[in-house]
C-alpha cells in the first residue's frame, strides 16, 4: 500500500466517523462517545506503558483530577467549561510533573507499585475532600458550549470528542516519528544504551509521563461535561486496570491499539450488561468485574500482543516514506593526527575486595586504532565502562580532548564525542534500521518534543535521515533500512551498532568485541571499514579477543592482565614480549 492509499483509507475512516450520527442510533453514538473518551486516556497509556515501558495503574487518577477541576470550576465557581479545560490540563500537568519527578527514578515494578499508591491516594482524596462533594461527587455540571450552542446531547458532543481523539492520535504519531519520539521508543530495556547516545532518559521519561497525563486530562474534561456528574468511583485504580486492559487488548505498542482496545472493551462491557442479567439475575455488577479480570489474566497469559499487531500481519504494509534528499548534518573537525585525545591516568576500580582495574594508564592518539587486549577477566570491559562513564572511577583521572571526564555522566561523555558499541548488542528489536541509526544523531540535533509533535522539525529530520542513510551505506546495510533491527543476524546487528555510533559523529569510537560472532568475510569487511575510518582521522579504541583481527589492524596495543597494564606497543613488540606470552600461554617450563 502506498502512502497515498493509506491516507485515502484514513480519510474514508474519518468520513465514516463524521457520518455516524446520521446513520446510527443515539445509543450507539453514546457508546462511541465513551469509546472516544476512553481512547484518549488509553492513548496516553499506550505512549507511557506500551511504548515508553513505564507501566502505570494510576492513569484514572489523572482523568479524575481534570474532571474534578472542571466540575468544581464550572459548578461551584461558575466559570466556563473552557476555563475548566485550561485549568484542568494545567493542574494535571503540574501534578504529573511533580509525581513523575519524584517517582520516575524508580525502576521496573517499583514504579508500577508507586502508581498504585498515588492512584489510591488520589481516589481517597476525591472521596474525602468536602469541597469536592466527598463520595457524593459533584452534579449538575453544565455542558460545553461553542459560540452559544450548548453541546448537551450525545450527538452534539460526539464531534468534539472525536476531533480531540483524532487530533491527539495524529500528534502522537508525529511525536513518535521525531527525534524525541525515537528516544521515547528507546526507553524500554535499560538506560545504558540511551545514555550512551547522549539521551537523558529521566527527562524523556518525565515528559512522556506528563504527555500521557495530559491526554488523560482531556479525557477527564470531556467525561465531566458529557456525563454532567463526577464522583470518585470512575477514577479508582480498578478503572486504571480497565484502561490497561483496553491498551493490552488493542496492542500495547500501537497508537491505534488505543482506539481498537477502547472500542472492543466498551462494546464487550455493554454486551455483558445486556447478557449477564439473563444468565444470572441480580449478580451482574460483580460478574462484570470477574469477566473482565479473568479476560485480562487470560490475555496476559496467552496473548500479550493484542489485536492490532495480529491484524497488521494480514493487512498490506504501508510503504515507508523514502528519505528526502537533503544536506548532511554538520561534521566535527577531527583533532590533528598524532595528538593525544584520550588519556587515562592511574584509573582504578574496585568491586568489594576485587581490584578489577588497578592504576592503568594509557593514551589514545588522534587517528590511530588502539587495541585493548588481555586474557579473560583482565578488566578490559571494566576499563571500557570506566572511560564511557557506565561505571564510576574509584581513583585516577580520564581526560578527553583536554577536558577532565573522570566524573561526568555517561551522556555527557557521549556528547563530548565518544561513541561506543556493546559487547552484548543493545538494540531495540522493534525499531527499523533507519530509526536505530537516527537515534545516534540525537546528540547532534536539537528538535524538541514540541517541534516533533507539530512537525516543525522536518528540515533537520531530513538532514538527519541523510546522515543515517550514509552511515547505513557505509556498513553495507542501506538496502535493508526499513527492516526491523531484531530481524538481523548477530553479525549485522554489530554493524548496525557501529553505524549508530558513527551517526553521532564521534572523535573517538570505542568498540567492545566487534568481531565476536562475525564470519571471516564479515571480519574482513569490518577491518576495511575501520581502516577507512582511520584514514578519515577518526580514532578507535578496540577491545577484542580475536588476535588475527586485532594484530592485522591496530597501530598499537595495550595489554591488560589481572586488572593491571602489562605492556603496550606495536603489535610486533607486544607479540614478542615474554610477559604477554606468559599471560596468554602460561609460563614456559
Amino acid at each position: 500500500m502506498t502512502r497515498l492509499q493509506f491516507h485515502l483509507v484514513a480519510a474514508v475512516g474519518v468520513l465514516l466517523l463524521a457520518l455516524a450520527p446520521a446513520l446510527l442510533s443515539p445509543f450507539s453514538i453514546t457508546l462511541l462517545n465513551f469509546i472516544g473518551i476512553y481512547a484518549l486516556a488509553v492513548l496516553g497509556l499506550v505512549l507511557l506503558s506500551g511504548i515508553g515501558g513505564m507501566l502505570s495503574f494510576g492513569q484514572a487518577a489523572f482523568v479524575g483530577i481534570a474532571a474534578y477541576a472542571t466540575a468544581w470550576l464550572t459548578v461551584k465557581a461558575g466559570y466556563s467549561p473552557w476555563i475548566g479545560l485550561v485549568v484542568g490540563v494545567v493542574l494535571t500537568g503540574l501534578v504529573a510533573a511533580v509525581l513523575g519527578a519524584v517517582t520516575l527514578r524508580l525502576g521496573g515494578h517499583f514504579l508500577s507499585l508507586s502508581t498504585i499508591a498515588w492512584g489510591l491516594a488520589t481516589y481517597f482524596l476525591f472521596g474525602n475532600v468536602p469541597m469536592l462533594g466527598q463520595y457524593n461527587g459533584i452534579s449538575e455540571i453544565p455542558p460545553i458550549s461553542i459560540g452559544g450552542h450548548a453541546l448537551a446531547s450525545s450527538n452534539s458532543i460526539y464531534y468534539l470528542i472525536w476531533i480531540f481523539v483524532i487530533v491527539s492520535l495524529v500528534l502522537s504519531a508525529n511525536l513518535l516519528d521525531s527525534r524525541e519520539g525515537r528516544a521515547v521508543r528507546a526507553l524500554r530495556g535499560g538506560q545504558v544504551m540511551t545514555e550512551s547516545l547522549g539521551i537523558n532518559p529521566f527527562r524523556v521519561k518525565l515528559i512522556t509521563f506528563v504527555i500521557a497525563a495530559l491526554l488523560s486530562a482531556l479525557s477527564g474534561w470531556l467525561y465531566a461535561h458529557m456525563s454532567r456528574f463526577v464522583s470518585p468511583a470512575p477514577f479508582d485504580v480498578s478503572v486504571g486496570i480497565l484502561y490497561l486492559l483496553m491498551a493490552m487488548v488493542g496492542g500495547m505498542g500501537y497508537l491505534s491499539g488505543a482506539i481498537v482496545g477502547a472500542a472492543v472493551v466498551t462494546l464487550l462491557k455493554n454486551s455483558i450488561q445486556d447478557w449477564l442479567p439473563v444468565i444470572s439475575p441480580g449478580a451482574s455488577g460483580q460478574l462484570e468485574v470477574i469477566v473482565f479480570s479473568v479476560l485480562f489474566i487470560l490475555l496476559l497469559q496467552r496473548a500479550r500482543a493484542g489485536i492490532v499487531p495480529f491484524a497488521l500481519r494480514w493487512l498490506p504494509r504501508v510503504q515507508p516514506a523514502p528519505p528526502r534528499a537533503a544536506g548532511s548534518l554538520e561534521h566535527r573537525q577531527q583533532p590533528e593526527r598524532g595528538q593525544p585525545i584520550l588519556s587515562v591516568a592511574g584509573a582504578t576500580r574496585r568491586f568489594g575486595g576485587l581490584l578489577a582495574v588497578d592504576k592503568v594508564s594509557f593514551e589514545v592518539k588522534a587517528g590511530e586504532i588502539l587495541g585493548l587486549i588481555g586474557p579473560n577477566g583482565a578488566g578490559k570491559t571494566t576499563m571500557f565502562n570506566l572511560i564511557t562513564g557506565a561505571l564510576p572511577l574509584n581513583q585516577g583521572k580520564i581526560s578527553f580532548l583536554g577536558q577532565d571526564i573522570s566524573h561526568r555522566a555517561q551522556r555527557q561523555i557521549a556528547r563530548a564525542g565518544i561513541a561506543r558499541t556493546f559487547q552484548h548488542v543493545k538494540l531495540r528489536k522493534t525499531m527499523t534500521l533507519l530509526d536505530t541509526v537516527l537515534l545516534g544523531t540525537y546528540g547532534r540535533t536539537q528538535s524538541g518534543f514540541f517541534a516533533g509533535v507539530l512537525r516543525l522539525d522536518r528540515a533537520e529530520e531530513a538532514r538527519a535521515q541523510t546522515e543515517a542513510m550514509r552511515q547505513l551505506q557505509r556498513v553495507g546495510l542501506a538496502d535493508r533500512a526499513f527492516e526491523l533491527a531484531g530481524n538481523l543476524p548477530l553479525g549485522n546487528q554489530r554493524l548496525l551498532e557501529i553505524a549508530r555510533a558513527l551517526a553521532a559523529d564521534p572523535a573517538l569510537l570505542m568498540l567492545d568485541e566487534p568481531a565476536a560472532g562475525l564470519r571471516s568475510g564479515e571480519k574482513a569487511d569490518l577491518a576495511h571499514l575501520l581502516e577507512a575510518l582511520r584514514a578519515e582521522g577518526l580514532s578507535v579504541l578496540l577491545v577484542e579477543h580475536d588476535m588475527d583481527f586485532v594484530m592485522g589492524l591496530v597501530d598499537r596495543t595495550v595489554v591488560m592482565d589481572f586488572g593491571a597494564k602489562l605492556c603496550e606497543g606495536t603489535p610486533a613488540v607486544v607479540r614478542s614480549d615474554p610477559r604477554v606470552q606468559e599471560a596468554y600461554l602460561g609460563g614456559v617450563a
Binding site: F110, A117, G189, Q191, V192, L244, Q286, V289, I290
Partner: protein, 348 residues
C-alpha cells in the same frame, strides 16, 4: 493530645501493626520464593474473617463455593497439562492434591451446616477452608507464566485481586461482619486499660514470627525455601523443585493471613473487599523491608499501624491518603539504596 490518649493510640497502632506484620511477612515469603507480588493476599485474610463469622452463626460460608470452583479449575488445568505431556500415571495424585484435599474441609463444613462448633474448632475449620485458596490460585494463574517478568506477574496479581473481589461479593454478599471476641479479659497496666484482644494479637504475632524464624533456620524445608528465594536456578540444580517450594510458600503465607484474619475479625468490621486495603497497608511495610527482609518488614508494618492510628486521631478522613502517600518516599528511599540492581530489565 494528652499522654493517655497518645498511649491508647500507640496501643491501637501497635495492635493493627501486629496484624499487618503477619500479612506483610506472608507477602515477603511469597515474593521471595515465587517473585509474585501477591496483591490479593489481604483478601485471604478478609475471607477468613468472613468464613469465621459465617461459622459462628452456623451458616454455610461462601468459602465452600469459592474453594470448590477453584479446585475444579485447578484440577482441570493440571489434568490438561498432564494429558498433554502424556503423564497419565500422575493423574491420581493430581486428583488427590488439587481436588480431594482442598474439598475435604469444604465438604465437612457443608454437611455440618447448622451445628455450632466451639471457638477453637471454628477457627481451625476457617483456616482449613481458606488455606487451599492461594495455592490453587497459584496453580491456575501464576504457574503457567512462572518465568515472566516481575512486572507482568504484578499486573496479573492486580487483575486477580479484582477477580477475587468480584467472587468475594458473589460468595459472601455485601454485608460486613464482626465476630465474637476471642477473649473478654481486660488488663490494667499502670492505669492504662489494655484489652485482652490486643494482647492476644500481639502475642500471636510474636509467636508466629518466632515460629517462622525457627522454620527457616532449623528445618530442611525452610532452608529449601530460602535457597529458592536466593537463587532459583541454583536451587533447582541441587534438586529443589520451584513449584513445590512455591506451594509451600503459598500455604505458609496463607496460614499467616488466615491467622491475621481471625485476629482482626472481632476488632474491625470486615467486608468482602476489606482485604485490598489490609493487604496494601501490609505491603507498605513489606516495601520498607524491600520485599526481602523479614525483621525490617515487621518493623515497617508496625510503623504503618502507628501512622494510621495517629492520623485517624488528627485527620481521620485522610488516613488512607496519608498511608498510601507514605509509600512513595519509602519506594524512593529503597530505590536509592538499591541503585543499579534494576538496570537492564529485559525487553519484552
Amino acid at each position: 493530645m494528652t499522654g493517655e490518649i497518645a498511649a491508647i493510640l500507640a496501643m491501637d497502632g501497635i495492635a493493627s501493626g501486629a496484624i499487618y506484620v503477619l500479612i506483610g511477612l506472608g507477602l515477603v515469603l511469597i515474593f521471595a520464593v515465587t517473585r509474585v507480588i501477591f496483591v490479593p493476599f489481604g483478601d485471604i485474610a478478609a475471607f477468613t474473617a468472613l468464613t469465621l463469622a459465617s461459622l459462628e452463626t452456623g451458616g454455610r460460608p461462601g468459602t465452600v463455593g469459592l474453594v470448590a470452583v477453584l479446585a475444579v479449575l485447578a484440577t482441570a488445568v493440571e489434568a490438561t497439562a498432564l494429558v498433554r505431556n502424556r503423564a497419565f500415571h500422575r493423574l491420581p495424585r493430581t486428583l488427590l492434591f488439587y481436588l480431594v484435599l482442598p474439598l475435604l474441609p469444604a465438604a465437612a463444613v457443608w454437611f455440618a451446616a447448622g451445628t455450632t462448633f466451639s471457638m477453637p474448632v471454628r477457627i481451625g475449620l476457617a483456616l482449613a477452608l481458606v488455606l487451599p485458596i492461594a495455592p490453587l490460585l497459584d496453580r491456575i494463574v501464576f504457574r503457567p507464566i512462572a518465568d515472566a517478568s516481575v512486572l507482568l506477574l504484578l499486573t496479573v496479581a492486580v487483575a486477580l485481586h479484582f477477580a477475587l473481589s468480584g467472587l468475594g461479593l458473589m460468595f459472601f454478599g455485601p454485608e460486613g461482619v464482626r465476630t465474637k471476641s476471642l477473649t473478654d479479659a481486660v488488663f490494667d497496666v499502670g492505669g492504662l486499660i489494655v484489652n485482652g484482644q490486643t494482647v492476644l494479637i500481639l502475642a500471636a504475632s510474636i509467636v508466629f514470627c518466632g515460629l517462622l524464624f525457627l522454620y527457616f533456620e532449623f528445618t530442611i524445608q525452610g532452608k529449601a525455601l530460602r535457597a529458592t528465594a536466593i537463587n532459583r536456578i541454583g536451587a533447582r540444580l541441587v534438586g529443589i523443585r520451584p513449584t513445590s517450594t512455591g506451594t509451600i510458600a503459598y500455604l505458609l503465607a496463607s496460614l499467616l493471613a488466615g491467622i491475621s484474619g481471625v485476629l482482626i475479625a472481632p476488632v474491625t468490621t470486615i467486608f468482602y473487599d476489606s482485604g485490598f486495603l489490609l493487604g496494601l497497608k501490609a505491603f507498605v511495610g513489606a516495601i520498607i523491608g524491600a520485599m526481602v527482609s523479614y525483621p525490617v518488614t515487621a518493623l515497617g508494618a508496625v510503623m504503618v499501624g502507628l501512622l494510621e492510628s495517629y492520623t485517624s486521631f488528627w485527620l481521620s478522613a485522610y488516613k488512607e491518603v496519608l498511608v498510601f502517600s507514605l509509600l512513595i518516599p519509602v519506594l524512593l528511599w529503597r530505590s536509592l539504596s538499591f541503585s543499579g540492581s534494576e538496570e537492564e530489565e529485559a525487553e519484552e
